[in-house]
């Protein structure tokens, strides 16, 4: 059934037991992102030395898609270099916005490929992207902070 193609087991798993959902103190950067069409919001703390993503923790309320997706990204990019992290986010965004054409590379996106089905539900694309865009925003803010 179509619903199952959206709500993969692994998504519901992340939704019920989200990773890193507890803000760690003293972040390099904190960002807040809101899904303006439904009101969902997350706060995300990024810890980085400018080269490597050391930690990502977060909190917020939202649907299973946005919560699970934030859980996935927070786990996936920690420990990665800034460049690698941004490339991973771009790959996820490309998949989600491909209207189903791009089903994602599991080697790059890990559990993120479970969200491939979201591409067929345009109204949910923003949900799936919420945490990823927040992460991207936090990284780029940390970079420009570094440059100053």
């Amino acid at each position: 059934m179509e619903l199952d193609s959206l709500y993969q087991e692994v998504i519901l798993e992340h939704y019920k037991r989200p990773l890193h959902k507890s803000l760690k103190a003293n972040p390099t950067i904190q960002v807040q992102h809101i899904n303006t069409s439904c009101g969902d919001e997350i706060t995300l703390n990024l810890h980085t030395d400018g080269t490597v993503i050391q930690d990502i923790t977060w909190d917020g309320i939202g649907c299973s898609i946005s919560q699970a997706s934030t859980s996935v990204v927070s786990d996936l990019v920690r420990g990665k270099s800034v460049g690698e992290a941004l490339a991973t986010i771009d790959a996820f965004q490309a998949m989600i916005q491909s209207k189903g054409a791009d089903t994602g590379n599991e080697d790059v996106l890990g559990d993120g490929v479970a969200f491939a089905g979201v591409a067929k539900f345009p109204a949910r694309v923003k949900c799936a992207l919420l945490g990823w865009m927040a992460t991207k925003d936090a990284i780029s803010q940390s970079q420009s902070k570094n440059e100053r």
Partner: protein, 417 residues
């Protein structure tokens, strides 16, 4: 009271025989956002275009005469639908434009005019307003230095009127309230508020988006000053709204949109303006949409708003009692049917509205989820979003049962999996 022959009504709405997702029957429970359209409305629009299309009020040829007559005929229909005089009915593009028109016109008023508003003056709204009846007033307050204050909402979803005479005081210029909440379904009691508004010399604006389509609203007996509603929520086309105002107010009110067909004389330096309604209808009007709305009004009137209202009350009662049997489900808003209309918001433990809406959609059931353009009200109820089902004349008890069954099935899908 006569009851509705729903299966014959359904046949008038071609979209209701559409299939959704995996071949499900469409159960459309989102009329609070926008209603579906009967064939007669679509036919009226098409007939306008294929037989009479020309610029109304702007030509002496036969088509222009006919277009003018049809357009003005639609105005007469709408006027009699709400108990207004024909010159008091202004066609806008939407309720949103109607409300902005009042706010901007007030902003344009010179000092001395009864519409003039400035620092120290007060605008009163409520915590349950749709953004369309909140932000235009915030912006007017910002532009003029006036103060925006508001009625609070009680835990059971009614206006808290305990401080009525403090809120509406001698500094108050305008009171703008919704007739029925698009989230809670609450129908607000207007009598005392309107009385107090006029006592202090202020103007009363009613956002009737959720009332005029569903039950009899008579602008004269409500004794209000302005009303705003949208055609698309009452079987009419998109792209047409109504602004009604008392004639003597409209004639005093400065224009909002300016341009062709609303002027008396024009030089390069300045212009003088016609009386209402023309003063407020600059440009070639949304003629086909007005004509379509006229046909919608005919359709509603032929069935009768009393019949429609009691039908919706029956469905809403059944929906509320059905939904309440579901584990972890709370109705947000009054459950007493005498206080409410056919819009039902609810929350269910452990399932986000977005997920619930998605599951219902996969069963063919269309509901609205989110903040419903009433973000402050969401905060008031300490949530970010609700799920909302809304009923109209083409819904029946099968639709209600589909909703209740669908919510239970979704609960199992998300909570018990």
């Amino acid at each position: 009271m006569a009851s509705l022959d729903i299966s014959s009504i359904k046949r008038d709405f071609p979209i209701l025989s559409r299939k959704i997702r995996e071949n499900n029957r469409l159960v459309y429970l989102d009329s609070g956002a926008t209603s579906q359209k009967p064939n007669s409305v679509l036919d009226a629009e098409r007939d306008f275009y294929t037989q009479h299309n020309a610029a109304a009020h702007r030509g002496a040829h036969q088509l222009a005469e006919e277009a003018t007559e049809l357009y003005e005929g639609a105005r007469e229909k709408v006027a009699s639908f709400i108990g207004a005089d024909v010159d008091e009915v202004i066609f806008t593009k939407s309720a949103t434009e109607s409300i902005n028109a009042i706010a901007y016109s007030m902003g344009n008023a010179q000092s001395g005019s009864r519409f003039h508003i400035s620092r120290g003056d007060r605008i009163v709204v409520s915590e349950m307003e749709h953004h369309a009846n909140l932000i235009p007033w915030q912006e007017l307050a910002r532009r003029t230095g006036a103060e925006l204050v508001w009625f609070k909402v009680t835990d059971d979803g009614r206006l808290d009127l305990t401080n009525l005479s403090e809120l509406i005081n001698s500094r108050t210029k305008i009171v703008a309230l919704t007739h029925q909440s698009n989230v809670l379904g609450t129908i607000n009691p207007l009598e005392d508020i309107v009385k107090r508004t006029h006592e202090v010399g202020a103007l009363f604006v009613l956002d009737a988006c959720q009332s005029v389509p569903h039950y009899k609203v008579n602008v004269k007996s409500l004794d209000i000053d302005f009303i705003a509603f949208s055609g698309h929520k009452m079987l009419g086309p998109t792209g047409v709204g109504i602004l009604w105002g008392r004639k003597e107010l409209l004639d005093e009110m400065p224009p909002f949109l300016t341009g062709g067909s609303m002027i008396e004389t024009v030089t390069m330096e300045s212009a003088t303006y016609l009386d209402a309604p023309k003063r407020f209808e600059a440009g070639v009007p949304n003629m086909a949409q007005a004509v379509g709305l006229g046909a919608a009004v005919d359709y509603l009137s032929a069935i009768g708003l009393d019949v429609i209202h009691s039908h919706e009350t029956e469905l809403t009662r059944a929906a509320i009692s059905g939904l309440r049997t579901i584990a972890g489900l709370t109705i947000i808003g009054p459950t007493d049917m005498t206080l409410r209309g056919g819009v039902v918001s609810f929350a269910i433990e452990g399932i986000h509205p977005h997920d619930l809406g998605q599951a219902l959609d996969s069963y063919g059931i269309a509901v609205r989820t989110g903040h419903h353009c009433a973000w402050p009200l969401m905060r008031r109820f300490k949530t970010v979003a609700t799920t909302r089902a809304s009923f109209y004349l083409y819904n029946d008890l099968d639709d209600v049962n589909a909703l209740v069954d669908g919510v239970e099935r979704a609960r199992k899908y998300f909570v018990e999996r």
